[in-house]
Amino acid sequence: MLAYIARKILHLIPMLLVISFLIYLGIDLMPGDAVDFMISPDELATVSPQQLATMRANLGLDKPFMLRYLIWLESLVKGDFGYSIQSGVPVSELFEKTLPATLELSFAALLLSTVLGSILGVVSALRRGSITDNVLSVAGMLGIAIPQFLFGLICIIIFVFKLGWLPAGGRMTPGHEAFFQRLDHLILPACVLGLSMTAGVMRYARASMLDSMNRDFVKTARSKGLPEWRVNLLHGFRVACTPVAVLIGFRLPMLIGGAVVVEQIFQWPGIGVMFLSAVRTQNTPVVMMVGFFSVLLVLVASIIVDIVTAMLDPRVKLQ
């Protein structure tokens, strides 16, 4: 298993290199470079072209592209992700401040949608054709069709303004920092973020469960005299799990992407909100770094999915 993980990580590296190259290309192509950003427009008038050239040389900005790329790559590996144009704060520091919030939100949404989606999907399958099934089917279709941000707005209207149950945004109220005290801030964004994932998981779990229950080994399980709950759960559902796990893996990028919008609506202080403001202000280093790390996240997630799939299905060979 460890060898498998190591091999998978090794496979990642060429992809990451290509992406880092493209990222650096993007950074480089954007008008302006570090020197321009370090000098405010007013000061620009007082600086001579020779001084600018000297500054560039000092920073190594006159070296050929490939060399600059490699230097950048080296500092990347060492943990230096460049600086935000807007604030001058190192990007790594920005990440440190915002990553935990985004991870918390994404993980909550993932957990919610996996568990809820699976349960509802299985129940739909077992009660196929019943009223429950039909209602859930419709709910599932709605969940896929409603834009996440609209659902967010509607939820805010209902739960924040009309019912007053939950706070309007932000990650916590000052003074209530413990996790359980923050839950009321987490619920709404997590539900909204998890909406379309839940709907997708539910539909897929239903289909997978129906397929699984039709297979011969379910008949064999019944023929052994096992109680229905065991047949449904340990045989039907257990085998239906694997395709659902694969689906969830495929949808993870959408979850990460969705966080961008949801964070904005709920003013959740995560990477998404930081990314959006960086895009608006053309803060290239931040934009590119977020892009790079989102890819990294997706690739790591796909490895995790592979491992989970192998664990769930012994027929999958860990080559």
Binding site: M15, F149, L150, R280, S294
Partner: protein, 304 residues
């Protein structure tokens, strides 16, 4: 034994079977398929209605979507402005109709563009295999390893915001999944006997791939086009909502509700965001129904 609902249904079926009423198989089957696709039919209807409203917008509203009228800012729905006005006095109903044109254009246009590129590449590279296929595959993997919205936003920050930029970016980020799907179809159909026969007859690769194999994969492709349209419409609306999609002088369903990011507007001026949101959702729902209907119709493994 106690007869439950299922048992009684069976009894009725038995009666009719013994009386020879059943068994007009073809007619029954087609009728049944149509009935089961009531949803698809309804979806088609809703889709057509909304589409027509948007295309023939000038017939349904006297205002233009860009007419600023600061005296009537934020007025609720009334007799003059059916859906009220937004924060700079533009009539929301007209913005919805004209905006619908743009949103649908973006959705459909991007879907068709991505399909054109993805399917062509998938058909050719999937059939030929080799270096070309491997390269394009790697490229598609690269593009697909970005969460789509992040990639789109990166491209927007590089290329700037405009209607055609958005379509272009959507096509660029959307072709990989069509490519993958077509390619996998190609790979399985390629092994079929009739393809070997065509090759033995000396038919050229281009003809085999595009004229013979591709039509067999058409079903899932059409389903994907419809579902992609829905996805792109949703994506555009999310982008424009955030103010990073189509700039707000050209109205789209997304940027009409963009002001609702402000909590006050959200709470006080529901007419700015709720009607558009509903229209958007209903339209996407209709497309999903159509897509599902197409998928069911194209699926030979479904027992009629």
């Amino acid at each position: 034994m106690k007869k439950d609902k299922l048992g009684r249904k069976m009894d009725r079926l038995l009666e009719r079977e013994l009386a020879g009423e059943l068994g007009h198989s073809n007619r029954n089957r087609a009728l049944r398929k149509f009935g089961a696709n009531k949803l698809a039919f309804a979806g088609g209807l809703v889709f057509a209605v909304i589409l027509l409203l948007c295309i023939f917008a000038p017939l349904f509203t006297q205002f233009s979507s860009t007419n600023v009228d600061l005296r009537n800012r934020l007025s609720p729905p009334g007799s003059v402005h059916i859906m009220g006005t937004d924060q700079i006095g533009r009539d929301i109903w007209s913005r919805m109709l004209y905006g619908g044109r743009i949103s649908i254009l973006i959705g459909l246009g991007s879907a068709l563009g991505a399909t054109l590129i993805g399917v062509s590449l998938g058909t050719w590279a999937g059939y030929r295999g080799g270096f070309l296929d491997a390269t394009i595959m790697k490229l598609s993997e690269l593009l697909m390893s970005f969460p789509q919205i992040i990639l789109v936003l990166i491209l927007v920050s590089i290329a700037g915001q405009s209607l055609w930029n958005i379509i272009f970016i959507f096509v660029l980020t959307g072709w990989p999944s069509m490519y993958r799907m077509t390619r996998s179809q190609m790979l399985s159909i390629r092994e079929e006997d009739f393809v070997q026969a065509l090759r033995a007859f000396g038919v050229s690769d281009v003809l085999i791939a595009f004229k013979h194999i591709l039509p067999n994969a058409i079903g899932p492709i059409f389903v994907n086009i419809t579902l992609s349209t829905a996805t792109f419409i949703l994506q555009e609306s999310a982008l424009s909502f955030l103010g990073l999609g189509v700039p707000s002088n050209v109205s789209t369903w997304g940027n009409i509700l963009s002001p609702a990011q402000n909590l006050t507007i959200l709470r006080e001026n529901w007419w700015i965001w709720l009607p558009v949101g509903l229209a958007l959702s209903i339209f996407v729902l209709a497309i999903n129904f159509i897509g599902d209907g197409l998928r069911d119709a194209a699926d030979p493994s479904q027992m009629g």
